[in-house]
Symmetry: C2
Subunit: 183 residues, 2 copies
């Protein structure tokens, strides 16, 4: 399985990887139990804040709510079968790290394992849990980020529902058309 050489990355540039809207794998840990869920419902809320929706029927929901921590891992296209497999199984029944052959790596700032085989890992602490009960909305602060040195742009997958994924394509640099303060 592919692995990446990663380096520490500025948390306030998290948007460079998450704003395009990729499917992510959220890892969690609470009282000896680790889990992973597939997630497509997330957004930037400030440059180092992320909002995400977690359904309370997900096995990860309680682990994440109780620990107030998670890691948002960014998988690439080579993990597509793992992404689908994780999304179609429950941590109540299986150990997803073992089942899918993923490697746990200790995080620096949270007590949640990162997934080694992902292109990037964003360690998160709960910033605001006031919308969890009413909306399923968790607001995270990114406290540490690890991003692969290469390739420059990961080939990510983006979900459309109904089993259909869009794969990220080419890139366009339009920097010259931006006002400096908007870059």
């Amino acid at each position: 399985m592919k692995t990446f050489q990663k380096r520490s990355f500025p948390v306030d540039q998290t948007r460079r990887y998450l704003e395009p809207g990729p499917i992510v794998l959220v890892s969690s840990h609470w009282q000896g139990e680790s889990n992973i869920m597939t997630m497509g419902w997330h957004m930037m809320l400030e440059y180092d804040r992320i909002g995400c929706y977690i359904w309370d029927e997900n096995h990860s929901f309680d682990l994440i709510r109780k620990s107030k921590q998670c890691v948002i891992n960014l998988p690439t296209i080579d993990l597509i079968d793992t992404i689908v497999g994780i999304g179609n199984s429950s941590g109540a029944e299986i150990d997803k790290f073992a089942k899918f052959g993923l490697t746990q790596v200790a995080s620096d700032k949270v007590a949640v394992p990162m997934i080694k085989e992902c292109y990037a890992n964003f360690e998160c602490r709960l910033e605001d849990g006031s919308m969890i009960v009413r909306r399923g909305l968790f607001i995270w602060r990114v406290v540490k980020a690890h991003v692969a040195r290469t390739p420059k742009y990961p080939t990510t997958v983006h979900y459309r529902g109904q089993g259909i994924f869009m794969v990220s394509g080419r890139h366009i640099n339009l920097r010259r058309k931006f006002k400096p303060q908007n870059l």
Copy 2:
């Protein structure tokens, strides 16, 4: 400029176009003034709910907060210069519909113009404004959706910051690997 033949679309399938994380154009209207802003910070919150972040320095912020309505318009790659132009100008200084040659179409359920040249339009009413002041977070209910008949998948643009856009690529159908209840 490209236009699309659109049809009414089920609001609870909005994710098929917004979950992949494209840049959208948000149109607004309040007391005779219309505006458009470029937005990349949005997410699905339920199948017919959308969360989005709007900075209170944006000219659109007050129009949207006061009217409690907006239209989320989905542009395709052919509008890339318009997307960048709208994001790098202010409605306080120019009429963006006129400046960028975009056509206003009356919405069915909100008093906000849709953008004719976009692939899809999602008419939204404010569902929950309790996080606007503290977080810049608006929670919308999609009350009417209009989506182009063709192409099946729009070629969308996804922002990475720093003037770099990712263009949507190929699609993969992995429906056979999903549990029926997860489709």
